[in-house]
Structures are given as structure tokens and as C-alpha cells.
């Protein structure tokens, strides 16, 4: 048991180190994050002001918190649906992964989580800090939100990796998953609250979003970290995230097992 845990811990650390090799890429990502952040601030502040200074619990200060937390998370959660695994399923190299004495899903999630955690250092934290410096934002004073927020953030990262994993293993049946990947990209960004906080959506669209795992990837960690809605609400969101993680992970296990039997490696 301990030996197994150590293997996945090492994979996590390897993912972390792997991402640290691309420093210039991280800087490029940060510049793009900040630019998009400033444009989001402009349009969303204008929306809050047009609504009379308060809109569904957001004023400009808490809207700023939303913008910069979402921009900061962008480097750590996968909202584009692209993965290395999808390519490996497509060209059959995944057969080699199946030969290794580790669980394919757990190993993939550990590596992805490691890469995501590293991205918080050059992309996540600077986005939030620079946003706070340039635009200003409101952060909760109660430490409970930081504690719950950290848990929620980690859960969001793993749920994101586990959901993209589903897109990748769908390749056992579809082979070409690009269409699915683009669908994932559109749905996760829009329903996950990347451009507009979900509270601003009309009721029926919020209900549609709540029926998908996407809000638990980005919107929930932001709501928990910014302390909107109080402690009980935040704890409820974390519990809902746990439920989504269990569901998505179980689906991934089932699909991997079924897909393994479908896998056909061509050529000799």
C-alpha cells in the first residue's frame, strides 16, 4: 500500500518537475492571462456599474476577485480538452502504458496534478497578486475560507484532469476525439464560468451548468476562496465537488476497463 502511494507520489513530483522546464512558456501564459484579465475587468465592471453597483451579490471589488482568481486558475485546470493521453490512445502507444504495473487513470491524474500544481507558481499566484495590485480586490478575512479554498482548489484541479481523461479514453471507441475535445473546450469554459460568473446566468442556464462537472472545476473553487455566501455554503460546495470527483473518476475507471478490450494496435 505504502509502496503504491510512493509510486504515484513520484509521478506527481515528476509532473511538477516536467512543467518547471518550460519557464518561458509560463511567462507567455502569464502575459496572456493578465491581458485577458484586464479586458474581463473592463466589461464586467461596466456590467456591475450598469446594474447600479451591485449585481447578484457582486460589487466591483468581488468581481475583481472573481476575475483574477479565474485567470490565475486558468494555467492549472484544463479547459481546452487536449491531453497527451488522447494522442497515445489514437496512435496505440497506450498499449505500452497498459503494460506498466500502475493504474492508467491514477498515473495520468497524478502526473497532470503535478503539472497543474507547478503552474500555480509562475502563473496562478502572479495573476492574483498583480490583479490585486493593479485593480484591487476583496479577500475574506476568515481563515476558514482559505483552508476550505485550498481543498476546493485541489479538488478542482483533479476533477478537471479526471474529466479530460474521459475525453481521452473515449478515443478507444472514436479514435479521432477532436470533435469531442472542442465540445469539452466550449462547455467547460462557458458552463465552468470562465468568462462570466455563473451567478449572472439566467436560471435555466445555471441549472444546465449545475448538471455538468464543469462548475466544480473553476467556479466552485473561486466561490469558496472568495468567501461569497458564507461558511456553510462553501462547505456544501466542497462536498458537491467530492461527489463529482467520485462520479467522474468511477466513469473513467469503467471506460478504461471497457476500452482496454476494444484497443486494437495496428501494424507490426
Amino acid at each position: 500500500m505504502r509502496a503504491t502511494a510512493r509510486v504515484y507520489w513520484r509521478l506527481l513530483a515528476a509532473g511538477f518537475r516536467r512543467q518547471s522546464a518550460y519557464r518561458l512558456a509560463a511567462l507567455g501564459g502569464l502575459v496572456a492571462n493578465l491581458t485577458f484579465g484586464l479586458l474581463k475587468v473592463a466589461i464586467l465592471f461596466a456590467t456591475v456599474r450598469a446594474a447600479g453597483g451591485e449585481l447578484h451579490g457582486y460589487d466591483t471589488a468581488s468581481m475583481s476577485t472573481y476575475v483574477w482568481l479565474s485567470q490565475g486558475l486558468l494555467g492549472s485546470v484544463n479547459l481546452n480538452g487536449r491531453t497527451d493521453l488522447a494522442l497515445r490512445v489514437k496512435d496505440g502507444q497506450v498499449a505500452v502504458d497498459f503494460l506498466r504495473p500502475v493504474d492508467l487513470q491514477a498515473a495520468t491524474l497524478a502526473t497532470e496534478a503535478g503539472m497543474s500544481l507547478f503552474a500555480l507558481i509562475p502563473r496562478g499566484l502572479p495573476s492574483v497578486l498583480l490583479g490585486a495590485l493593479v485593480v484591487g480586490m476583496r479577500l475574506p478575512s476568515n481563515p476558514v475560507f482559505y483552508l476550505l479554498g485550498t481543498v476546493s482548489l485541489l479538488l478542482g484541479i483533479v476533477i478537471s484532469a479526471a474529466t479530460v481523461y474521459l475525453v481521452a479514453v473515449a478515443g478507444f471507441w472514436l479514435v479521432e476525439t477532436r470533435g469531442l475535445q472542442i465540445l469539452y473546450m466550449l462547455a467547460s469554459g462557458f458552463l465552468g464560468g470562465l468568462y462570466v460568473p455563473l451567478a449572472l446566468f439566467p436560471g435555466w442556464l445555471r441549472a444546465v451548468a449545475a448538471a455538468t462537472p464543469f462548475p466544480s472545476i473553476m467556479m466552485d473553487p473561486i466561490d469558496v476562496l472568495s468567501g461569497l455566501g458564507g461558511e456553510a455554503h462553501a462547505a456544501g460546495l466542497v462536498l458537491a465537488q467530492l461527489a463529482w470527483l467520485a462520479g467522474v473518476a468511477a466513469a473513467g475507471q469503467a471506460l478504461t476497463r471497457a476500452g482496454r478490450r476494444r484497443l486494437e494496435v495496428q501494424g507490426g
Binding site: 496572456a32 491581458t35 465540445l183
Partner: protein, 273 residues
């Protein structure tokens, strides 16, 4: 006469490549259909992001939803067409990393012209259709008083917008020679620029007006022509008459783009193969 024939002859290789790329995309019908549908959805979701804001308020930056539709439509139509014909310049870092750019040097044609004509993404036509539909809806519902002026502004805005976005793709490609792994940095003004172009520029802070109003002239691609067509007053620093200056923005975009491209091309030392 002989001169035109000579020019046509020189363009023949480019046409041959483009035609083959267009054919190859349509060869796999199911795949092409999926591409078209996903590209259409990209446009629809981008429009939905704007619409969601307007379920909360009636006007943003002095514009109602049907007026914003005109801005969004102009911007997205021009951008999608530029993306269709220039978007693959984004692949330059792959060529640089693999060292395959050197092949382009061996042919007796300019490297940039070869790269631009090396591909054409027909799927972006679906997204352009969303832009065109939004533009049409904006024009018909926002009470535009039609006059030759308005028609000229519309055509001028579209053509200049297309050229401005294309210039941004060239500028980004020129910078890739230096950035390599940092390629994502140019997304800030290419895709960030597209996002900015769909917004009413009246909501921008002063630094944003400087950056996306003038340096990367995104306000000229849609907002300013739209304001001039609708007869609205522009915000501070961006008066409505600037809508007529959209071609100047396109020239500026191409001037910076080509300058950067030359600079980058000279900096390039080959793949070492």
C-alpha cells in the same frame, strides 16, 4: 496584358497549394462536418457570453444588445476570415522547433507568402457565418439609417478589420522567432485582441484604450466603424469619426507586422540540419 499574364503565372504555385489544401479538408466528409459544427459552436458560445451579460443589464458602454451585435458581428466576421487565411501562421513555432522552416528557404518565393498560402482552414467559414448573422441582426434591428455613407463605412470597416487582424497574425509570427516556447505570449494581442474587438471600447480604462485602441488597433476593426454607422458619439479619446480611419489602422497593423517579420527572419539562423 503580358504583364498580367506574367503575374498570374507567378501566383500559380500558390493557387495550386491552396486548392490542394482545400480539397484535402473536404476529402474526409464526416471529419469536415464535425469541424464545421464545432467551429459554428465556437462562434455561438462566444456570442452567448455577450448575451448573458445583457440578461442582467439593458446597456453596456452606451450600447444596447442589438447595437453590440453589430460590433460583435463585424469583429467576429473579420477575425474568422483572417483566421481562415492567416491563422496557421500560429504553427510557426512547430516548424522552428522541428527545423522544417529551412525547406521554405529553398524555394524561389518569399517565405511569408509561402507560409500564408501553405494552408487554408475552411472550417472557419462556419464561425464567419455566425459573425455575419450577428452583424445582419445588428444592422436590421438597431435602426440604422441607411445611406451611402453607412454602406461605405460597413465595407471599409470589414475590409480594414480583416487586414488589421491578418497583420496581427503576421506580427505574432515575426515574434515567434524570438519567443519559441513563449509562443503563448502573442495570444495576448491576437486572441486577446479578438476578445477586445468584440467589446464596446467605451468600457475600457485609459491604458486599455492606448493598448487596444491604438497600438494594437482593435477598436478600429469593429467598435469605431459601428459607432460611426449607428451615429453614436464615441467615448473620450475614441471619437466616432475615427471609424473612417479604419484603413489607417490596417496599414499600421501591416507595417508593424512586416517590420517584425523581417526582423525575425533575419534573426533566424536555421535549424542546424
Amino acid at each position: 496584358m503580358a504583364e498580367t499574364a506574367g503575374r498570374l503565372e507567378r501566383l500559380r504555385p500558390y493557387r495550386a497549394v491552396l486548392a490542394s489544401r482545400a480539397r484535402s479538408q473536404r476529402a474526409y466528409r464526416a471529419n469536415f462536418a464535425v469541424d464545421l459544427v464545432s467551429s459554428l459552436l465556437v462562434g455561438v458560445v462566444e456570442l452567448a457570453e455577450v448575451w448573458v451579460l445583457f440578461t442582467n443589464v439593458t446597456a453596456l458602454g452606451g450600447m444596447r444588445f442589438n447595437q453590440i451585435l453589430l460590433v460583435f458581428g463585424l469583429a467576429d466576421l473579420a477575425f474568422s476570415l483572417a483566421d481562415l487565411s492567416f491563422g496557421h501562421l500560429d504553427n510557426l513555432p512547430d516548424f522552428l522547433r522541428a527545423g522544417t522552416l529551412d525547406v521554405f528557404y529553398l524555394r524561389p518565393q518569399p517565405v511569408l507568402a509561402q507560409l500564408i498560402t501553405s494552408d487554408i482552414s475552411l472550417r472557419r467559414l462556419a464561425r464567419a457565418a455566425v459573425g455575419a448573422a450577428a452583424m445582419g441582426a445588428g444592422l436590421t434591428t438597431s435602426g440604422v439609417t441607411w445611406s451611402p455613407h453607412a454602406a461605405v463605412l460597413l465595407v471599409l470597416g470589414l475590409v480594414s478589420g480583416y487586414a488589421t487582424f491578418a497583420g496581427m497574425f503576421v506580427l505574432a509570427a515575426g515574434l515567434q522567432f524570438f519567443l519559441l516556447d513563449g509562443a503563448e505570449m502573442t495570444n495576448a494581442f491576437v486572441y486577446g485582441g479578438r476578445y477586445a474587438a468584440t467589446q464596446p471600447a467605451s468600457v475600457w480604462t485609459r491604458p486599455l484604450k492606448l493598448v487596444f485602441g491604438f497600438f494594437f488597433p482593435m477598436a478600429f476593426t469593429a467598435y469605431l466603424p459601428a459607432v460611426a454607422i449607428l451615429g453614436l458619439p464615441g467615448p473620450q479619446w475614441l471619437p466616432a469619426w475615427l471609424g473612417w480611419c479604419a484603413p489607417a489602422a490596417a496599414l499600421w497593423s501591416w507595417a508593424t507586422g512586416l517590420l517584425c517579420w523581417r526582423w525575425g527572419l533575419r534573426h533566424y539562423q536555421g535549424g542546424g540540419g
